[in-house]
Amino acid sequence: MDVWSSLMDGFATALTPMNFLYAVIGVLLGTAVGVLPGLGPAMTVALLLPVTYALEPTSAFIMFAGIYYGGMYGGSTTSILLNTPGESSSVVTAIEGNKMAKAGRAAQALATAAIGSFVAGTIGTALLAVCAPVVVEFAVSLGAPSYFSIMVLALLAVTAVLGSSRLRGFASLGLGLAIGLVGLDVVTGQARLTFGVPLLADGLDIVVVAVAIFAVGEALWVAAHLRRNPLQIIPVGRPWMGKQDWKRSWKPWLRGTAYGFPFGALPAGGAEIPTFLSYVTEKRLSKHPEEFGKGAIEGVAGPEAANNAAAAGTLTPMLALGLPTNATAAVMLAAFTSYGIQPGPQLFSSQGPLVWALIASLFIGNLLLLLINLPLAPMWAKLLQIPRPYLYAGILFFATLGAYSVNLQAFDLVLLLALGALGFMMRRFGLPVLPLILGVILGPRIEKQLRQTLQLSAGDPAGLFSEPIAVVIYIIVAIILVWPFIFKLIRRNRPALATGGVATPSAPEAPSGSSAHPDLPVHSESSARPEKKETP
């Protein structure tokens, strides 16, 4: 039992007082940013990145993992009590959760969300511990052509499958890849996109880009939309569940986990599609279908479990392949690089203790989150009463401090402002942020694999197809790209069948599109509008 003993070593590392303290800080911070709409774990990790340079990498990653899981928990509280999803992955939770709260069952909704998240998070983390080494074993046999194709798949899938508009997705991806190109070409030493500015020769620091897009862009956006009619939180006591609620919740928890983990692990995963699928499934399987739309507990239990299992799933390709599929994982990957750790399949062998401590800390974080969320959920909701000028002044302060501390040069502050303005414009015109961040972070890595492939084949593009896995993946890529056109064609030919056969509840539009917060940038992170999806 190699996995088992490594994991136990991981627990030993993660439970030292210092690391445990960082886990506690992480889950508290994560819950806080999860509760607040517009702030997310990706932005928090990016802001904390420069601050944590002085720490041991292990401690820093334990804290980041806590933030990541905490964000998933916190989002559900806001969804249920305010009908405003704190995170894009809790959009679906708001549908039934807020109805339950309005019917006076907020305590049960919060309880099933928290316990379901715990169950799914724990199972998901266990699956991560089992699956990741298997994926690594498979991945070390892959060559540059296969890697290149997998990364192409991840970029295209995230861009084309998530989000409402493919055009906007690809525009954002293009911006990201362009930002990733700035600097000296590693192979030939040519300057690219530097416009003769020597300070740009080293490229744009990923911390500056991430902080600018997430924090500064968001702050400008909020400043432009500051005044709005305030909402009221539905008052709630301590979350609890009756016997009947347990009985109705445990199956959705397990089914939600089953949806969440594989979708999270896929390169186009994300948490939005599995939460949506889980909701549809629970609606169909429920013994109380009449309660759906009026506050059915299954509709909270399933999606909440799904989004936490997806969070665990996302870490599988991130740790095993160095392939992030959501914004937080992307920033964590950037963190690896900034600590001088090379992400990829070698990670498990070269940084074994760190990786296993990280996985162990996920188990610990999950338990901590259950303990702090179950009794304290109403208290977390009080965070929403903070006047936003105070909140965002603090965020801008940290953003500026962080961007300056990376290289200690004032030029980075100019970049911060310019990219912050870009982030604002992206929110204004509905461009999703995720493809940009993935483009910036994966761009240089994908280029490296491409150059390597072409060098091996002496510049012959046929080298790209020299491995069977690469060919299979290109076929999947082609299907993803062509699918919507085929789908449209089929629908045109058989309109009656297509409209009747696809179960599309109109409800997910309600919490986001309704009066509550139509302009929340939650949607811009990666909007939850699942299209018909072809998965590899």
Partner: protein
């Protein structure tokens, strides 16, 4: 002439509203209900929701009082909104509810009631909760 009442959905606010209704009936004047928020936090429990406003509306209508309910969200604090409304409408009386504040709380947060009392050009009637 108008009576302006600063309303918040708390016992103090209810007391102020009840008193204001009483005054309005006595002198048979128009009642202007102001419930405002700066609108810079996502959640403000002092901003009345639609159901609250509807019940006030019904209550005033059944009592036959000529009334206007306003909920300005303009980034001004409550004192400024009430004072503005009083000045604009040439109010004969402002009714507000007082709540118990500690000296330290007042030092840090300031006091809406105190500002209205000091700056209003018309008589101010301050009531306490039940």
């Amino acid at each position: 002439m108008t009576i302006v009442v600063g309303y918040v959905p708390t016992p103090e606010g209810e007391a102020a509203l009840t008193q204001a209704i009483h005054e309005a009936r006595k002198s048979n004047t128009r009642l202007l209900v102001i419930n405002s928020s700066k609108g810079d936090a996502l959640v403000d429990n002092r901003y009345a929701q639609d159901s609250d406003i509807q019940s006030i509306e019904d209550r005033l209508a059944t009592q036959g009082i000529d009334h206007v309910i306003k909920q300005p969200v303009r980034g001004h604090d409550a004192a400024a909104e009430v004072l503005d409304a009083a000045e604009e409408n040439n109010a004969e009386l402002i009714v507000i509810g007082l709540r118990r504040r500690t000296p330290v709380g007042k030092l840090i947060m300031g006091s809406v009631s105190q500002r209205i009392l000091l700056e209003a050009d018309c008589p101010v009637l301050a009531v306490k909760a039940g």
